[in-house]
C-alpha cells in the first residue's frame, strides 16, 4: 500500500491547456482587484472592467486552445500523473468543443452583463474559466478520481454562475435546483464508483493500447463475467452521467436551470457540460466497460430512445425560447447517446464530431437570446419574439440560422453531424435508432420552425408593434443625435466598431450612421417605448450608457455562425477523419 510517483515535466506539459485556464482564472481574479477606479464610477462598473476582464478571460481560452493545438501536433498522447489524466486526441478534441463554447460564452457576456448591470465580473469570468477547466478535466479523466474532481469543479462553478443574477429570483432558483439535484446525482455516481471500485479493485480506467497503468479495463478483460456489485455500480454510474447529459428521466433540471441562468452561461454550460459529460460517458462505457457492453447497452439504448422521443415531444409546446432550447438540448443528448450505444470508433467519432458542431449552433442560439433576455428573465417568450425580424433583422436572422442548424438543415453543421451519427447507427447495427432519430427529427423541425415563424412571419403584438416600428430614417437620426447609443452593425465589429461605439455624442453620422441604422433601430425603439409593464426594467437598463459592448455579441454570433457553417461545409473533409482518429485514441 505504498507507491512512489514523481511528476515529470512531461506530465505537466500534457495538461498544459488546463494549466493555462487555471492560471488565467486566478489572474482574472487578481486583475479584477487591481483595476483602477475611474472617477465616481465604482470599479466594477468601469468601462475598463467590461473590457479588460473578458478580454483576459478570452485570452486564457485562446491560450488553452493554442495549447490544445500544440498538443495535437507535438503531444505524445500519453497519460499524465500515473494514468489519471489523458492527453490523447479524444480529450484534446473534447477540449476544442469545450473551449469553443467557453470562448463564445465569454464573448457574449460583456454586453449581457452590462445591460443587466451585473457587477462582480472578476468572479464571473474566473468561475467561467474554472467551469471550463472542470469540464476539460472531466473529459480527459482516465480515472474515476479525476472524473469526480472534474465533475465537481465544473458543477461548483456552474452553481454560482447559474445563480449569478442575484436580483432575479429565477436565477437563484436555478442555482439552487441545479445545486441540490446535481449533488444528489453526484452521490449516486459516487456510489456507483465505489461499487465498481469494490468489484474491480481500482479506480483507474486503464488504457486500451498499453498495460502501463492497469485499471478497470484490464480487470474486466481478465474477468469478463459481471458481478452484482459491478452491475449495480454501472447502473448508478449511468445515472450520474445521464444526469449530466440530461437524458430522460434525469433531465428535469435542465429546462429550469437553462431558463433561469444568465443566457451566456446557458450558452456555455449547455454545450460544455454536455460535451465533457458525454466524452466521459463514452470513455467510461464504450472504452472502459467495453468487455461488459452487453450488460449496459440495453439501458443506454432505452435512455437514448426515451431522450430522443421525450426531449422532442416536450419541446413541442414550449413557448419560451430558452426552455425550448433546453428541451431541444435534451433531444440532442438523445441523438448523442446513439453514439454511445453504437460504440466503436465510428460511434465515438460521431459523438465527437456532433459535439463540436453542436457547440457552435447551441452556443450561437443562446447567444442570440442573450441579446434579448431582460433582467426579469422575460424577453424570450414566443410572444416577445414575434415580429423580431421587423425590429432587429440581423438578430432574428442569426437566431433563425442557428435554429435551422439545430433542426438539421444543411448546409449548417447540424446536418453533417446528424448524418454522421445516423450513419454510425446504421453501421453499428442499429437501424432502429437511425429510424427513430430521423422521425423524431421531424418533431424537432416543428418547434424550431414554429419559433422562426413567430420571429419572421407573425407581426408583433399591437402595443409592441406601435412602439417598436421605427423607420430607418429615425434610426439614422437617433444614431447621430442620441449619441451614446451608437452601436454597430455586425460587419464592422472590429476595432472600428469599438471606436465608433466608445465615441459618445453625435459620432455616428454619414455613412457610418447609415451602417448602424440596422442595429440602432431596436435600441431607439426601446428608449422610446412607453410600455409600462417593462418600463422599470428598461429604465434600469438605460442607466448604463447603452449597449456599448453590443458589438461583442455580434462578434460572438458571427463567429458561431461561421463555425457552424464551416463545420457543415468545408471542415468535415478532415474533421471527421480527425474525430475518427481521436476516437480511436480515447
Amino acid at each position: 500500500m505504498s507507491f512512489t510517483y514523481i511528476a515529470s515535466a512531461a506530465d505537466w506539459a500534457r495538461i498544459a491547456p488546463e494549466l493555462v485556464l487555471a492560471g488565467v482564472a486566478l489572474l482574472v481574479l487578481l486583475v479584477d482587484l487591481l483595476l483602477p477606479q475611474t472617477g465616481s464610477v465604482p470599479r466594477e462598473r468601469g468601462a475598463a472592467n467590461f473590457f479588460v476582464l473578458p478580454f483576459l478571460a478570452l485570452l486564457g481560452v485562446l491560450g488553452a486552445l493554442a495549447a490544445t493545438i500544440v498538443l495535437f501536433v507535438v503531444g505524445d498522447g500519453q497519460r499524465a500523473f500515473f494514468g489519471l489524466v489523458g492527453s490523447d486526441w479524444g480529450s484534446l478534441y473534447a477540449y476544442l468543443a469545450i473551449l469553443s463554447a467557453a470562448g463564445l460564452g465569454i464573448i457574449f457576456s460583456p454586453a449581457y452583463l452590462k445591460r443587466l448591470k451585473l457587477v462582480h465580473q472578476g468572479e464571473y469570468y474566473a468561475l467561467f474559466l474554472t467551469a471550463a477547466l472542470g469540464m476539460m478535466l472531466l473529459a480527459a479523466a482516465t480515472s474515476f478520481m479525476t472524473l469526480f474532481l472534474g465533475l465537481e469543479t465544473l458543477s461548483l462553478a456552474l452553481y454560482i454562475l447559474c445563480g449569478f443574477v442575484t436580483r432575479r429570483q429565477g436565477s437563484q432558483e436555478a442555482g439552487m435546483k441545479y445545486f441540490l439535484l446535481s449533488s444528489f446525482a453526484s452521490a449516486f455516481l459516487l456510489y456507483g464508483v465505489a461499487l465498481i471500485y469494490g468489484a474491480t479493485g481500482t479506480t483507474r480506467f486503464g488504457a486500451r493500447e498499453t498495460n502501463a497503468f492497469p485499471g478497470v479495463l484490464q480487470f474486466l478483460q481478465a474477468h469478463p463475467q459481471s458481478t452484482a456489485l459491478l452491475l449495480i455500480g454501472i447502473g448508478l454510474l449511468t445515472v450520474g452521467f445521464a444526469f449530466k447529459v440530461s437524458a430522460i428521466p434525469f433531465q428535469m433540471w435542465t429546462p429550469d436551470v437553462y431558463e433561469g441562468a444568465p443566457a451566456p452561461v446557458t450558452a456555455f454550460m449547455s454545450v460544455g457540460t454536455k460535451a465533457a459529460a458525454l466524452v466521459a460517458f463514452a470513455r467510461v462505457f464504450v472504452v472502459v466497460l467495453a468487455p461488459v457492453a452487453a450488460d449496459w447497452q440495453a439501458v443506454v439504448w432505452a435512455l437514448a430512445v426515451l431522450t430522443m422521443v421525450g426531449g422532442n415531444l416536450l419541446a413541442l409546446v414550449q413557448r419560451n425560447a430558452k426552455r425550448l432550447l433546453a428541451y431541444s438540448s435534451v433531444a440532442h443528448a438523445g441523438y448523442l447517446l446513439i453514439g454511445v450505444v453504437v460504440g466503436g470508433a465510428t460511434g465515438l467519432a460521431a459523438i465527437l464530431f456532433y459535439l463540436l458542431c453542436y457547440a457552435f449552433l447551441n452556443a450561437g442560439a443562446f447567444g442570440a437570446l442573450s441579446a434579448l433576455e431582460r433582467l426579469d428573465n422575460s424577453g424570450c417568450d414566443r410572444e416577445d419574439l414575434r415580429g423580431l425580424w421587423f425590429r432587429r433583422p440581423w438578430l432574428a436572422g442569426f437566431l433563425a440560422f442557428f435554429l435551422l442548424g439545430l433542426a438539421g438543415f444543411p448546409p449548417m453543421a447540424g446536418f453533417a453531424a446528424k448524418y454522421y451519427l445516423f450513419f454510425a447507427a446504421l453501421q453499428g447495427g442499429h437501424p432502429e435508432l437511425l429510424l427513430i432519430g430521423v422521425l423524431t427529427s421531424v418533431l424537432g423541425m416543428y418547434y424550431y420552425l414554429r419559433l422562426i415563424a413567430a420571429m419572421f412571419m407573425e407581426p408583433a403584438r399591437e402595443a409592441q408593434a406601435e412602439s417598436l416600428e421605427v423607420t430607418p430614417a429615425l434610426a439614422v437620426a437617433s444614431a447621430g443625435t442620441a449619441g451614446a447609443g451608437a452601436s454597430v452593425a455586425p460587419r464592422v465589429s472590429g476595432p472600428l466598431g469599438r471606436a465608433a461605439s466608445t465615441r459618445s455624442g453625435g459620432a455616428g453620422s454619414g455613412v457610418a450612421g447609415a451602417a448602424v441604422a440596422v442595429k440602432a433601430a431596436p435600441q431607439t425603439a426601446t428608449r422610446r417605448a412607453p410600455a409600462p409593464a417593462t418600463g422599470e426594467q428598461l429604465a434600469e437598463e438605460e442607466g448604463l450608457p447603452g449597449h456599448s459592448f453590443a458589438w461583442t455579441t455580434w462578434l460572438g454570433l458571427g463567429l458561431a455562425a461561421l463555425g457552424a457553417l464551416a463545420l457543415g461545409t468545408v471542415l468535415p473533409f478532415w474533421l471527421v477523419d480527425l474525430a475518427l482518429k481521436a476516437a480511436a485514441m480515447l
Binding site: P393, F409, P410, P411, Y419, F422, L439, Y446, A453, M457
Partner: protein, 516 residues
C-alpha cells in the same frame, strides 16, 4: 476545367448575398441586381445547353438504365453525365462534391433558371423586405439547381433540404393570412419524406460499400457490380419515394400543397409549382428508377395507381374550387400525376418506356412553363382586385383583353390542347403508359376531359360572362384600378408564351435532350 456547373449553382447564392448587402433605399438597384443575376444564370445555363447539344466525344458513360425501345427489342440506354465536377469532400463516407449534367438535368436546369428570371421579374411589386425576399428567391434557385445537377446523393440531399429553407421563408414571410400554417405544414410534410430519404441515402451508401469504402456517387453506384437484393431495394425505394411522393406530390401526400400554393405570394407559388415540384418527379426518374430497378418494377403499379388516383381525384377537386390559386394547385397535382405515370410506365420486364420518360421530362418542362404563366396571371389579377375568388369576377375580358388572351393561351396549354406544349408531353407520356399498361393509360388519358372543364371554367369565370353586381372586382373597375397587362408584366409572360407555342409545334429538341 472551368467549374461551369458550380458557377451556375452558386452564382444565385452569391447574387443573393450581394443583394442583401445593397442599401435598402435603392430599391431599383436591388431589383435589377437580382434580375441581372438571374439573367446571367439563365445565359450560362443556355450556354451549357448549347454545349450539350453538340456532339460530345468526351462524354463519360457512367451506367445504364434499362429502357425498352420498341416492343420486341429491349435495349439498354446509358446515363451519361457531362461537365462533371468532382471534389473529395468526405471520401470516408462516400461523400463527394460531384456535379454533372445529362439531358434531363440540362433541361430542368435551364427551366429553373428561366423560371427564376420570370418569377423575379414578376416580383418587382414586392415592397416589404425586398432584399431578403430576392435573396431567398435566388437561394431557392441555387437549391433547385443543385438538386438537378448533383450526382452525389449526399450533395443531392443537401440541396434538397437547402431549397426548403427559402421556400419556407418565402411562403411564411410574404404569404397570405394563413401563411404560417401553410408554411409549417409544407415544411413538415416535406420533412417527413426527406428525412426518410435521408435514412435511405445513409443506408444506400452503407450497402454500396466495397471493403470498408462507402460510396454515394451516382456514377460509382451505377457502375457498381453490387446488386442489392430485392428486399433491400424495396425498403430503400420506399424511403426515397417518400420524399419524392411528398414533393411531387402524390395523393394522399398532397395536403400541404393547396395550402402552400394558395398562401404563398404568387411568384413564389409559381416557383414552387413550376420548378420545385419537378424536383420530386426528377427524383423518381433519376434515383428511384435507376437505383432500384427491381423495386421500381415491383412498386410501379402502386405508384401508378396513386398517380392515377391523384390525376382524377384532383381534377375533380379542381372542378369545384372557387379560389383560383387552389384550382391551379389541384390542377397542378393532377398534371404532375401524368408525369409520375410516365416515369413509371414500366413494361412487364420492368423496362422503362422511352416515350414515357421523354414525355414525362417534356411535361416537366411544359408544366413548369404553363403553371408559372397561370399563377403569374392570377397573381396579376389579384394584385389589381385583391381577390382570387372566381365568383367575384366576370366579364372583365373587355377591360383586360390582353390578359384574357394570355390567360386563355395558358389555360389551353394546361388543358393539353393539341399544338401547344403540354400536349406534346402528355401525349408522349400517356402513350408510353398506355403501351405498357392499358388500364393506367386509359385512366390517365381520361384526365383531359375534366382538365378542359376546369380550365375553361377558370377562364370563363374570370374573364367572361356577366359582370357581377358588386364586389371587389367591380369596385376596382370603378376606381379605374383594372388596367390591362402593362408592358413589364407582358414581358414577364412573353418568354413563357413563346415557349408554349414553340414546344407545342416543335418538341423535337427537347426529346433530343432527353434521349442523348
Amino acid at each position: 476545367m472551368f467549374p461551369m456547373l458550380s458557377t451556375i449553382i452558386f452564382l444565385p447564392l452569391l447574387g443573393g448575398i450581394v443583394v442583401l448587402l445593397l442599401p435598402r433605399e435603392r430599391v431599383n438597384v436591388i431589383r435589377w441586381t437580382a434580375l441581372g443575376v438571374a439573367w446571367l444564370d439563365l445565359l450560362l445555363a443556355l450556354g451549357v445547353m448549347l454545349a450539350y447539344a453538340q456532339p460530345h466525344p468526351t462524354a463519360v458513360t457512367v451506367g445504364t438504365v434499362p429502357v425498352v425501345v420498341g416492343e420486341a427489342s429491349p435495349t439498354v440506354a446509358s446515363v451519361t453525365f457531362l461537365l462533371q465536377e468532382h471534389l473529395s469532400w468526405l471520401p470516408a463516407l462516400g461523400i463527394n462534391y460531384s456535379l454533372g449534367v445529362d439531358g434531363v438535368s440540362v433541361l430542368l436546369m435551364t427551366l429553373t433558371t428561366l423560371l427564376t428570371v420570370v418569377c423575379i421579374a414578376a416580383s418587382f411589386r414586392v415592397e416589404q423586405k425586398l432584399r431578403t425576399y430576392l435573396a431567398f428567391m435566388l437561394l431557392l434557385e441555387s437549391g433547385l439547381l443543385g438538386v438537378f445537377l448533383a450526382t452525389n446523393l449526399f450533395l443531392f440531399y443537401v440541396f434538397w433540404e437547402l431549397m426548403l429553407i427559402p421556400a419556407y421563408f418565402l411562403v411564411g414571410g410574404w404569404g397570405g393570412s394563413r401563411r404560417v400554417y401553410a408554411a409549417i405544414k409544407f415544411v413538415l410534410y416535406t420533412a417527413v419524406g426527406s428525412f426518410l430519404m435521408l435514412a435511405g441515402i445513409i443506408a444506400l451508401g452503407y450497402y454500396y460499400r466495397t471493403g470498408g469504402h462507402y460510396t454515394l456517387d451516382l456514377t460509382t453506384i451505377l457502375n457498381s457490380s453490387t446488386h442489392l437484393n430485392s428486399t433491400v431495394q424495396l425498403w430503400l425505394f420506399l424511403a426515397f419515394a417518400a420524399a419524392f411522393a411528398v414533393k411531387v406530390p402524390l395523393v394522399p401526400f398532397h395536403s400541404w400543397l393547396p395550402d402552400a400554393y394558395s398562401e404563398a405570394p404568387t411568384p413564389v407559388t409559381a416557383m414552387l409549382a413550376g420548378a420545385m415540384a419537378k424536383a420530386g418527379a426528377y427524383g423518381f426518374l433519376r434515383y428511384c428508377l435507376t437505383l432500384f430497378p427491381d423495386a421500381a418494377h415491383r412498386l410501379a403499379p402502386l405508384i401508378s395507381t396513386l398517380a392515377v388516383i391523384g390525376i382524377l381525384y384532383c381534377a375533380l377537386l379542381a372542378l369545384v374550387q372557387s379560389d383560383m390559386k387552389r384550382l391551379l394547385a389541384y390542377s397542378s397535382i393532377s398534371h404532375l400525376g401524368v408525369i409520375t405515370l410516365g416515369v413509371f410506365a414500366l413494361n412487364a420486364q420492368g423496362m422503362a418506356s422511352q416515350q414515357g420518360i421523354d414525355g414525362a421530362v417534356l411535361q416537366m418542362v411544359n408544366h413548369g412553363i404553363t403553371i408559372t404563366a397561370l399563377f403569374l396571371i392570377v397573381g396579376f389579377l389579384e394584385a389589381r382586385t385583391g381577390t382570387r375568388r372566381l365568383e367575384d369576377y366576370g366579364g372583365v375580358a373587355r377591360r383586360l383583353p390582353i390578359m384574357a388572351s394570355v390567360l386563355m393561351i395558358a389555360c389551353l396549354s394546361s388543358l393539353g390542347l393539341p399544338g401547344l406544349n403540354s400536349f406534346a408531353g402528355e401525349f408522349l407520356a400517356l402513350l408510353g403508359v398506355f403501351r405498357n399498361n392499358a388500364l393506367f393509360g386509359v385512366l390517365g388519358t381520361l384526365v383531359v376531359v375534366p382538365a378542359a372543364w376546369y380550365m375553361i371554367r377558370l377562364v370563363q369565370h374570370a374573364m367572361m360572362g356577366v359582370r357581377p353586381a358588386g364586389g371587389p372586382v367591380v369596385a376596382a373597375e370603378r376606381k379605374g384600378g383594372l388596367p390591362d397587362l402593362d408592358i413589364g408584366e407582358f414581358l414577364v409572360l412573353l418568354p413563357l408564351l413563346v415557349l408554349i407555342f414553340y414546344i407545342g409545334v416543335h418538341p423535337l429538341p427537347l426529346t433530343f435532350f432527353v434521349e442523348h
